[in-house]
């Protein structure tokens, strides 16, 4: 009796329990419902470019985690992204030339003159594209 109770006491006070699970046991289906529920990790997933309420997630990984809008040229990027996003019918290559020029010029510290040259070049290209189908 005393020995048995002593052994029992020791077992209860084991601090670091070590278990082994074999491969066969591991591959058996999970029976517990709450254990299966733990696989539902939806709320921890990274949110993409749009929040559920439709607003833009400026901190998504697709925008460098927020770096693009925090940048000193971030406001220009916002305008460009909003413009690009607003019109899904047109081809991205011909959308929002003005916003793009403003952002690119800020990023490259262009002079006003150089920026307007770029704007003119892009606008002319747009015109040429319009002419080609005719």
């Amino acid at each position: 009796m005393p020995i048995f109770s002593l052994i029992r006491k020791m077992q209860c006070h084991v601090k670091d329990e070590v278990l082994y699970i074999g491969k066969k046991e591991f591959e058996e289906p999970i029976k517990s419902e709450w254990v299966l529920e733990m696989q539902n990790t939806e709320k921890y997933k990274t949110i993409g470019p749009t929040f559920p309420d439709g607003t833009i997630n400026w901190q998504c990984p697709c925008m460098a985690g927020g770096s693009l809008v925090a940048h000193r040229c971030g406001n220009f990027f916002r305008e460009l992204y909003i413009c690009m996003k607003s019109d899904d019918t047109r081809d991205p290559s011909e959308k929002c030339p003005n916003q793009f020029v403003n952002w690119a010029a800020c990023m490259q510290n262009m002079s006003d003159e150089r920026r307007e040259q770029m704007r003119k070049a892009m606008t002319v290209d747009t015109e040429e594209l319009k002419i080609n189908p005719k």
Binding site: E17, F26, V35, T41, G66, H71, R78
Partner: protein, 700 residues
């Protein structure tokens, strides 16, 4: 009367000539400094022409005057000058002049004689002036270099001397005039030569002063520019909408969050460190594993993905300069580097810097982070020994250790500490330098990472580190440090001595709490750091994030976590709460909800991901995969149980990869009390699915 009038005209002539000489000298300096010794000869030729012109103008003046009878004498002057200009033999010139003078029998002969003598002396004087500028020109190129070398403080000290020199210049000018007048007034031929020579010294002084003036002028623009910059900077820093104390990971991610929520927010980071915001974990991991010979300078490495990266979050171009921030139409993030904030006045909404600068804010974030814990035995070491001791925390510490190892000045390194940082360093250095470097790890505890790992895993980790070639001295305390030749000798508690080239101390961290105490904010007694609520709010319009913040975790209670992911998550959360807080500062904001994880590796097959409260003093249950003969990886999941109700509060994954951390988050968030540990271990990939497919193929 006649003599006095002539004297005045002669004085003006001399001044003009001297000016011409100086301007020529200056132009030479501008063109590139002194030339050949014979160059003055060509410049000298125009002199006769100018003299002719001068005499001609004088004759013109005299023709208008009443003394017309002297016209014939003017013609004689011209003839004499022409005669002199045509001859190059000094003796012949003198002989002819004297003969002609002797032939004159007029009573005015004496006056003419004295005038001619004066002319000769003037010419000699001019020649001397030519010679002297040359010497000075040769010396000038060296002088411009000197002002650049002294530091700005010394430049300021030099200013008074320059002012004195200016005064000397002013004093010199009147003397020159006096000398010239004396020369003119000298009637007797015998005195004239001595008088003519006197002006030379004053001329040289004037030239020297001119040189100094030009130097001063070249220096002045930069000085004024600096002053303007300082003034602008001071104005710009008087107030900023969002102020963040700190420039580490939490501060950086807070600024991203603020700018994402408010498009035109103006954010000012005040960082004590001189670097741009950087990612710290690679300093003890990836920079050693994947760095190359440039890793010590550029702090860059090429990870397995192949794309080169460095530890800095942004380049300089990301930031608006502090001077431009007030006038930035669309806001931005500005960074003050190397500036320490020492106090927050919550009532006045001001931050006071170490140099006395005051910056007002609308909303403030405290993200001062942690610093290395100092060890008394190393602080008391001699100055010589201290040169061989470094704490490991900042990029500069990595650079120092890496350079020492790379240039082989360090071949025996001793790392003090048993924590994750020290163990990572031991593994990383040994991994990179292998047999070329002796690595010792010394700690008082029994096992590495003893505060985190359950005992049976800690035991395996110390064996793994030793197997990697590190000489581990466990349960040893450093009792003394002394310098010996070029090495340091550590006296350990077991009586042994350890000779080493470099001591790297990584025994732990402590929060940067001085500003908290100075500002009257609450410091958590148990965990340290500033006390914040579940929304990371400290006080009215004041938030905290990162390792400095002891916050209320809704699931795990009061916590202060020093890990990269915690800094990122709390930084973003604090930033969001700041940006969305109402103007009255009473709105609550979002509560902390996303459990941060951390990862570490200090042996080839000891890869650890952990999340939640991983405290080895808690009861743990470890579920191991059975050892496989084919792979050395031992896979296990460790569950940490709460003392209160036995629910799972932490999960540690040993050599388990993939998206398992989110499952662990879910288990912790749901505060599950578990009885079927093997069952829940099935949620983690202890066995590879690929192998099961292969087995199916074989069976088929």
């Amino acid at each position: 009367m006649l003599l006095r009038a002539v004297g005045r005209q002669m004085t003006s002539v001399i001044f003009r000539q001297q000016t011409a000489v100086r301007s020529i000298a200056m132009s030479r300096v501008a063109l590139g400094g002194g030339g050949h010794h014979h160059e003055p000869t060509p410049v000298y030729i125009p002199k006769p022409g100018s003299l002719d012109w001068t005499f001609f103008s004088r004759s013109h003046t005299k023709s208008a005057h009443e003394f017309e009878p002297y016209k014939p004498e003017i013609g004689a002057f011209i003839g004499a000058v022409a005669f002199i200009g045509l001859t190059l033999i000094a003796v012949v010139i003198k002989t002819d002049v004297f003969k002609k003078e002797d032939s004159h029998g007029h009573g005015h002969g004496h006056a003419k004689h004295s005038k001619k003598h004066e002319e000769k002396h003037e010419q000699k004087h001019e020649e001397k002036e030519h010679a002297e500028p040359e010497k000075k020109e040769e010396a000038k190129p060296e002088k411009p270099a000197e002002p650049k070398e002294p530091e700005p403080a010394q430049k300021q000290a030099e200013q008074p001397e320059q002012a004195e020199e200016k005064q000397e210049t002013k004093d010199a000018e009147p003397k020159e005039q006096v000398d010239d007048r004396q020369t003119e007034e000298a009637v007797h031929a015998r005195r004239a030569p001595a008088a003519a020579e006197e002006p030379a010294p004053s001329t040289s002084k004037a030239d020297a002063v001119e040189e100094k003036r030009s130097e001063q002028q070249s220096m002045k623009p930069s000085e004024s520019t600096e002053e303007n910059t300082t003034t602008t900077s001071a104005d710009g820093l008087l107030h900023c909408e969002y102020v963040i104390i700190g420039s580490g990971t939490a501060a950086y991610y807070a600024s991203l969050s603020i700018r994402a929520k408010q498009a035109e927010a103006k954010v000012l980071m005040i960082g004590e460190e001189p670097e741009l915001p950087y990612n710290r974990p690679p300093l003890s991991k990836e920079l050693w594993w994947y760095g190359d010979e440039t890793s010590a300078t550029k702090l860059a490495y090429t990870p397995l993905s192949g794309k080169k990266r460095d530890i800095f979050y942004e380049v300089d171009g990301f930031f608006v300069s502090p001077e431009d921030l007030p006038k930035a139409v669309h806001g931005g993030v500005a960074l003050l580097r190397g500036r320490k904030a020492v106090k927050i006045c919550e009532e006045d909404k001001k931050v006071i810097l170490e140099d006395g600068t005051t910056i007002g804010y609308d909303k403030l974030l405290i993200a001062t982070g942690v610093r290395p814990k100092k060890e008394q035995v190393f602080e008391e070491a001699s100055e010589e020994a201290k040169q061989k001791i470094t704490y490991f925390h900042y990029p500069a510490d990595f650079k120092r250790v890496e350079r020492g190892l790379a240039d082989k000045s360090v071949q025996k390194v001793t790392i003090i500490g048993n924590g994750l940082l020290a163990s990572e360093l031991s593994y990383s250095i040994k991994r990179k330098y292998g047999e070329n470097v002796e690595v010792h790890q010394v700690f008082e505890e029994k096992y590495p990472a003893e505060d985190i790992l359950p005992e049976h895993i800690a035991q395996k980790s110390i064996e793994a580190i030793r197997k990697g070639g590190v000489d581990v001295r466990a349960e040893q305390k450093v009792e003394g440090v002394r310098k010996c030749c070029k090495n340091v000798v550590l006296k350990l508690s077991d009586g042994s001595e350890l000779r080493t080239d470099l001591v790297v101390v990584a025994t732990g961290e402590e929060p940067n709490s001085e500003i908290i105490e100075a500002s009257g904010l609450k410091i958590d007694e148990k965990l340290g750091g500033v006390r914040a609520d579940k929304c990371l709010k400290v006080g009215e319009n004041v938030w905290a994030a990162g390792a400095i913040a002891t916050f209320e975790d809704g699931v795990l209670g009061a916590r202060r976590v020093s890990s990269w992911e915690n800094a990122q998550i709390s930084g973003r959360l604090a930033g969001e709460n700041m940006a969305t807080a109402a103007a009255d500062g009473k709105s609550e904001g979002k509560a902390f909800w996303y459990q941060p994880s951390f990862f570490t590796k200090f042996a080839p097959h000891l890869h650890i991901n952990a999340i939640g409260k991983c405290d080895s003093s808690l009861e743990t249950v470890s579920v191991h995969a059975e050892p496989d003969k084919d792979t050395p990886l031992e896979k296990a999941v460790v569950f940490y149980k709460s003392k209160e109700d036995g629910s799972i509060v932490g999960v540690l994954l040993l050599n388990v990869f993939g998206p398992s951390l989110d499952v662990a988050r879910r288990i912790i968030d749901d505060r599950k009390k578990v009885d079927e540990y093997k069952e829940i271990a099935k949620l983690f990939p202890l066995y590879d699915p690929v192998k099961s497919d292969e087995d199916d193929a074989k069976s088929a």
